[in-house]
Amino acid sequence: MLTTIIRPTKGTAKILGFDVQQKSLEVKKRIGFMPDVPGFYGEMKASELLNFYADFYRIPKIDREKKVEDLLKMMQLDEFKNKKVKTFSRGMKQKLGFASSLINDPEVLILDEPTIGLDPSTTHFFKKSIKSLNEKGVTVFLSSHILSDVQALCNKVGIIDHGKIIAVDTIDSLSKKISSTSNKKIVVTFEDITDKAINAVKKIDGVLSIKKDKSSNKIEIEIDSKKPIIPKINKTLVNNDVNITSIETKEMNLEDIFLSLVGEK
């Protein structure tokens, strides 16, 4: 809808002050868009294709050709500029889609699942490029199911469940809000632990669950965030001859935030 491709059934949306329905051409001039699976005219060469898209923005020929060269270089596709797009791999097509979304120097860049199905090095390339664009002042609007990517890239997130926005804020703010109302997790690292010690911790009022990681010397304890019981847990473990290496509060990541808002299924 924000890209003006789909019309809203109701409501309004504005990008840079322009209504996406009433002023769709103004919006289109100022945005860049890359769909999750960009489709191209396979018979066209990479440079031809970018020149074709650039033509819509009436970019003068000299500037356009330079822009196309620069974008192909930036996307590491310069040596394939004269190859037909139908011969490109998935990652190369994704890069070409990214280049096409930048052809008009957009103020707002809308990316739909930009890293889905890509190999780790291409994913890294995309993340680096998105960050760099954002640092240059481009507003990046990213939709993704890969929450680690979102966490790494976004200043602000919106969580949608069943078509409705249920939260919009920075990850830190959401984490704080959720931590104050829900349970907290702490991770205890030790040299050795006995079942007796674990059972003693379980009996503490406010301890909700304990998960023992068999492959490492760690336990994850879920506690009621309203009860200050971390010192008590520490004392109980020490009294049960556990040599504690560290006790850390597990920071909420985006996945934890998402699951606490949407609920595990």
């Binding site: 890209t3 491709i5 868009f33 699976v37 489709g39 191209f40 005219y41 898209y53 819509f56 923005y57």
Partner: protein
């Protein structure tokens, strides 16, 4: 206008370079060549092979008779050529997902539909004008009778409108369906059955046969091009006034075109 031109340019060159277009134009050129050659052969044959009245018309009309023979061939090959280029113009973009990258450019949906239509028409017009012009030059060179620019212009103009009608029909189908196969099948059905259905209707509704024949774009094309070439000698013999054929010809172009533009404009892709 600029964005329509950008899309027109892309469509025009893509079609001109396509294998499909090359095959169609080779077939079209061969058929034009055969028609010209065949008609010249007939004109030179003795009365034993050609009835005297036909031979008389051939000799009297000269190059015009040959052009009329080309028109007869275009009845058959013209619609399938235009449909073959236009049947997947929109639906393929939807399937291959290239439409999204086009729709996010500063171009309206209506402009996309118009640009695509003009691109197909331009790609059809160029080789058809070239092939027919060569044929006309050959005809004039080999015949002792002349042919006016009005006649040539009329023949080319009405032929292009005839092809534009089927391009618009092809685009209408392409905007309405979800797969290229459905679009192709519908195109073939229209090409084969439109004249058949109209003929059957004319038999059952013989009182209105003059009006019913207008349901097939070939009828107004035949009359309009005949009028331009001067072979339509007796206007009174027409079932409806001449302007009715012209009007029908224009409506055949604009109605499918406008519907196809509006369908594409209203659809969510």
């Amino acid at each position: 206008m600029w964005t329509i031109f950008v899309l027109f340019k892309k469509e025009f060159f893509s079609h001109l370079k396509s294998v499909r277009m090359i095959i169609l134009m080779v077939i079209f050129s061969l058929l034009v060549l055969l028609t010209v050659y065949g008609t010249f052969m007939l004109m030179g044959m003795s009365e034993a092979f050609v009835p005297p009245d036909v031979s008389e018309i051939m000799i009297e009309q000269g190059p015009i008779f040959i052009l009329s023979s080309i028109v007869g061939m275009i009845f058959f090959i013209g619609p399938i050529t235009a449909l073959a280029l236009s049947f997947d113009t929109i639906v393929r973009e939807k399937i291959e997902n290239s439409l999204h990258l086009l729709l996010c450019r500063p171009i309206s949906r209506r402009s996309i539909a118009i640009g695509k239509f003009l691109g197909i028409l331009g790609a059809l017009a160029l080789p058809i004008i070239v092939v027919n012009s060569i044929a006309i030059v050959v005809i004039i060179f080999l015949s002792d009778k002349g042919i006016s620019f009005t006649q040539i212009g009329g023949f080319l103009l009405f032929t292009l409108i005839f092809l534009a009608i089927y391009s618009a029909i092809g685009q209408l189908i392409s905007s309405s369906v979800k797969t290229t196969t459905t679009s192709l099948l519908l195109g073939i059905v229209i090409w084969i059955f439109l004249p058949v259905i109209v003929s059957i209707l004319s038999v059952f509704l013989s009182d209105f046969s003059g009006h019913i024949e207008l349901l097939n774009p070939s009828a107004p094309y035949n009359v309009c091009v005949g009028h331009a070439l001067g072979t339509l000698t007796n206007e009174a013999s027409l079932s409806i006034p001449l302007w009715g054929y012209y009007l029908s010809f224009i409506l055949w172009l604009f109605i499918p075109l406008i519907i196809s533009i509006e369908i594409f404009n209203r659809k969510e892709d």
